[in-house]
């Protein structure tokens, strides 16, 4: 069924449903956008939709009651059967409204309401007013066309491919081929109300043509559905196949019940009618149940995206997954646009696209502020209308931009980490160079100046006062050299430069006033210089904190190399409860470790001692 047909068959509501659906979708989007942070629009009136649906419900309830009154005549034997038709209309209407409310952007709800209208129309054949009977005759078989439409449009609500001509032809068979039957009817009053001539031959021919055409529609429907089901994943096929099969059988039931089932089961006309009615009444119930609970249709509407967006980042599944669930396409992908490279990348940063032409994948671009930021790639056989995808895309544009930046960031993070590592390494090299220069230059010069002062001091020709001055000078130089030694030790201890992390740690620990045990990897191979420095300063800072704050009488340093990582634990049996203030000196050190790709954690429960854990990727050199 084309959109135009929908509009034509929608006189009941006095408005064009398609624009109204689009408007509602737009409002839904605004609603979600507001929930997502109030950036994109104003609040929509979800109550407005409810009011409209309530109006439709009342309208159909009223019309059904009126029809029951109009068609009920106690004298007629099958009078109670006529009540069944408005009942059917109510069932279709109720199911349709439910689906409409829960899935506002899916047209199946509207289609079921149209089906309800068709049933009401067909039921008019039992009225007493000739004009109403005439309407009833025109619409007598239209419900079947609606059911065929339903079967084709399930579950997306859209018609695609061969379904369009088949459904259109179905409406031609139901409405068009019906025309000769009432124009040339050889029927008792009031069923001859539209008859212009009595042409029994023509009626027979028309009946045959309609029957055959109807059969053709059903055969074509079956072929299309079987072909479509073949491409569907097994889990969904198990639900869809029986449902669509039921739809086809229910339609076939109409001729089948009277010609085959009736004689076979010895049913009277009433029995046949009831069988048909029950079969057809089950359709909206089954379809709506599967639509809402089938687990493969849209499990959420666009509003749910808003709820998702406003939930905390920790509780969120990935954006693509949220979109996939909302739109009911598990294969949905998000691509991110990289402006500089003019191509798409996926969440992991890998280059994707373009889509092969002629495939069943659809692509909708997502824009933010007029710039392309990404694309939603979906299964076009599941989501027939790109507008729905586009709408969802508008809602998630901001979040997608965020994920795009994240993807971009992931790409640059590695580069950044390498840069940071190099910065820390070169800072460490610089420290070593400074320490060496101070030793080789200044320290040596001070020592040699001391030697010269000694020469003057002990020169036999020097006056006693000069000798004394030289002695003071030598003492001063010695003090200066001692101070410089302590300074250089602070920059980088000699033990660390000369004998490495383990020796330097032992050196430090040996001077502690509390019992401290150490354990190192066997072999004692040297580690990369920057790691040795960072680890040394972390350990010594931790032990200094232990001395200052922990009131511990025992500490332990454990280092191990495993799986390409250096792990260090510094533990004490002190009071615990180390706060960031007392561990302040560790912040900068933790940054250095982080720059080397590692981390530092401090666990310090009150009364439970303090444990510092450090871990850093490391290959011994």
């Amino acid at each position: 069924m084309t959109r135009a047909t929908t509009t034509d068959s929608d006189p009941l509501f006095g408005r064009d449903p398609s624009p109204s659906i689009q408007a509602r979708e737009a409002l839904d989007l605004c609603h979600t956008a507001r929930m997502a942070g109030g950036v994109l629009g104003t609040r929509a009136s979800a109550p407005g939709l409810d009011a409209a649906l309530a109006f439709i419900a009342f309208l159909f309830a009223g019309l059904g009651l009126v029809e029951m009154v109009l068609t009920t005549e106690p004298s007629r034997a099958s009078a109670w059967l006529l009540i069944l038709t408005p009942l059917l209309a109510w069932i279709y209407c109720a199911a349709g409204l439910l689906a409409w409310r829960r899935r506002p952007s899916n047209r199946l709800g509207l289609l079921l309401v149209i089906g309800a209208a068709a049933w009401l129309g067909a039921g008019l054949t039992g009225a007493h007013e000739p004009a109403l009977v005439a309407a009833g005759l025109v619409l007598a078989t239209s419900p079947l066309a609606v059911v065929v439409h339903l079967v084709h449009a399930f579950p997306s609500g859209e018609l695609r491919g061969a379904s369009r001509p088949i459904v259109a032809f179905g409406y031609v068979v139901a409405l068009g081929m019906q025309v000769p039957l009432y124009l040339y009817a050889d029927a008792p009053a009031p069923y001859d109300v539209l008859a212009v001539a009595d042409r029994p031959g023509l009626v027979t021919l028309a009946t045959w043509v309609q029957g055959t055409s109807g059969a053709l529609v059903m055969v074509a429907t079956t072929v299309v559905l079987v072909r479509r089901l073949r491409d569907v994943e097994p889990r969904r096929r198990r639900v869809l196949a029986p449902l669509l099969g039921y739809g086809v059988v229910a339609v076939l039931m109409v001729p089948f019940a009277s010609h085959v089932l009736g004689p076979l089961l010895h049913l009277d006309d009433n029995g046949i009618d009831v069988t048909q009615m029950v079969a057809l009444a089950g359709i909206p119930v089954a379809f709506v149940l599967v639509l809402l609970r089938g687990g493969f249709g849209r499990t959420g509407e666009v509003q749910e995206l808003g709820a998702w967006l406003s939930s905390g980042p920790g509780a969120r599944p990935a954006l693509a997954q949220a979109l996939a669930e909302t739109l009911g396409d598990p294969t949905l992908e998000l691509w991110f646009w990289v402006p500089g490279r003019e191509r798409y990348v996926d969440g992991a940063g890998g280059v994707v696209g373009p889509l092969p032409s002629g495939g069943h994948r659809g692509l909708v671009e997502v824009e933010l502020g007029g710039d392309r930021i990404g694309a939603i790639v979906y299964d076009a056989t599941l989501l027939a209308d790109p507008e729905t995808v586009r709408g969802a895309g508008r809602v998630v544009a901001l979040a997608l931009e965020r994920e795009r930046l994240t993807a971009e960031l992931l790409g640059t993070r590695e580069v950044l980490r390498h840069t940071l590592t190099r910065v820390v390494e070169s800072a460490d090299q610089e420290r070593r160079r400074i320490a060496r220069d101070l030793h080789d230059g200044l320290q040596s010069r001070l020592v040699l100046l001391g030697v010269e002062a000694y020469e003057i001091e002990t020169d036999p020709t020097a006056s006693p006062s000069l000798s004394q001055a030289a002695r003071r000078l030598r003492k001063g130089l010695d003090d200066g050299a001692g101070e410089l030694r302590r300074l250089v030790h602070g920059v980088l201890p000699a033990a660390l430069i000369e004998r490495g992390l383990y020796a330097a740690t032992e050196e430090f620990v040996a001077q502690l006033p509390i019992r401290t045990s150490v354990s190192f990897p066997s072999g004692g191979a040297r580690l990369p210089a920057a790691i040795e420095s960072a680890a040394y300063f972390v350990v010594t800072e931790a032990l200094t904190n232990t001395l200052k704050h922990a009131y511990a009488d025992e500490a332990r340093v454990h280092m191990e190399l495993r799986g390409g990582r250096l792990r260090i634990a510094v533990t004490d049996n002190g009071v615990g409860g180390a706060s960031p203030e007392t561990a302040g000196g560790l912040d900068g050190l933790a940054d250095r470790v982080a720059a080397l790709g590692g981390r530092v954690d401090v666990d310090s429960p009150p009364g439970g001692g303090t444990t510092l854990l450090m871990e850093v990727p490391c290959v011994s050199s």
Binding site: V447, R474, E506, P513, R515
Partner: protein, 232 residues
């Protein structure tokens, strides 16, 4: 007295050579890295090797390794390791592996020329000389079983013993009579459970070795094993 000097830094090397030559030492060979030092020593068989710890190519502990190689091959050659910094571990390693003729001095001591030259001669004669800073490193830290029970004075005597002081020198340094020093020393020996030997360098060695032993119950290797087990 013939000396091979291991020092890569030009200024310091020049100063040392000047100092040694003026004091009557004969600097027969100079080296700027580990291999050169071992090679020069092999070539000249000097009385003494004086070496810096850090040398090319890595400026780490090349001098220490060279010293260990020299002492292993020619135990009779005295080796003095010079360093800008005092490290407990270096002293421990040197004293553990080599019984006699070893010295470990801060470069800063060079300016105290008389004492420095005396220390060099001591080592060349097979004695052991440890820098006072190193000795204090060995004696600080957490109280350990070894020095528990010593009085302050006894600890000072022990420190001077470790530096190679004779009883007479200790007596002068602490303004005591030599007799009371002997008294202190025998007390220290009793408390530490050391064997009394008249040999000055032996007693230094014994004291230092004792002090540099791991401070916690059992040797270092044991604590390694326990920790390794505990941490999986």
């Amino acid at each position: 007295m013939r000396v091979v000097l291991g020092e890569d830094e030009a200024l310091m090397r020049h100063g040392l050579v000047l100092l040694l030559e003026r004091a009557g030492f004969s600097v027969v060979g100079m080296a700027a890295n580990e291999e050169e030092l071992v090679g020069e020593t092999e070539h000249h068989r000097p009385d003494l090797v004086v070496t810096d710890i850090r040398m090319p190519p890595d400026h780490r502990d090349e001098g220490l390794r060279a010293a260990a190689r020299v002492k292993a091959r020619w135990p009779e050659i005295g080796v003095v390791v010079l360093s800008h910094h005092a490290q407990r571990g270096v002293a421990v390693d040197l004293l553990r592996d080599h019984a006699t003729g070893i010295g470990y001095l801060l470069k800063q001591r060079v300016a105290d020329v008389d004492q420095f030259l005396a220390d060099l001669r001591s080592v060349a004669h097979g004695r052991t000389v440890i820098d006072p800073d190193v000795v204090s490193l060995l004696m600080t830290g957490a109280p350990r079983a070894a020095t528990e029970g010593l009085t302050d004075r006894q600890e000072r005597v022990l420190g001077l013993m470790a530096r190679g002081y004779s009883n007479a020198a200790i007596a002068r340094e602490l303004s005591l009579s030599e007799k009371s020093v002997v008294h202190h020393v025998s007390h220290i020996y009793d408390i530490l459970g050391l064997e009394l030997t008249p040999d000055a360098h032996r007693r230094v060695q014994a004291v230092v070795r004792h002090l540099s032993a791991d401070r916690w119950p059992g040797p270092l290797a044991t604590s390694h094993r326990i920790d390794a087990d505990r941490h999986g």
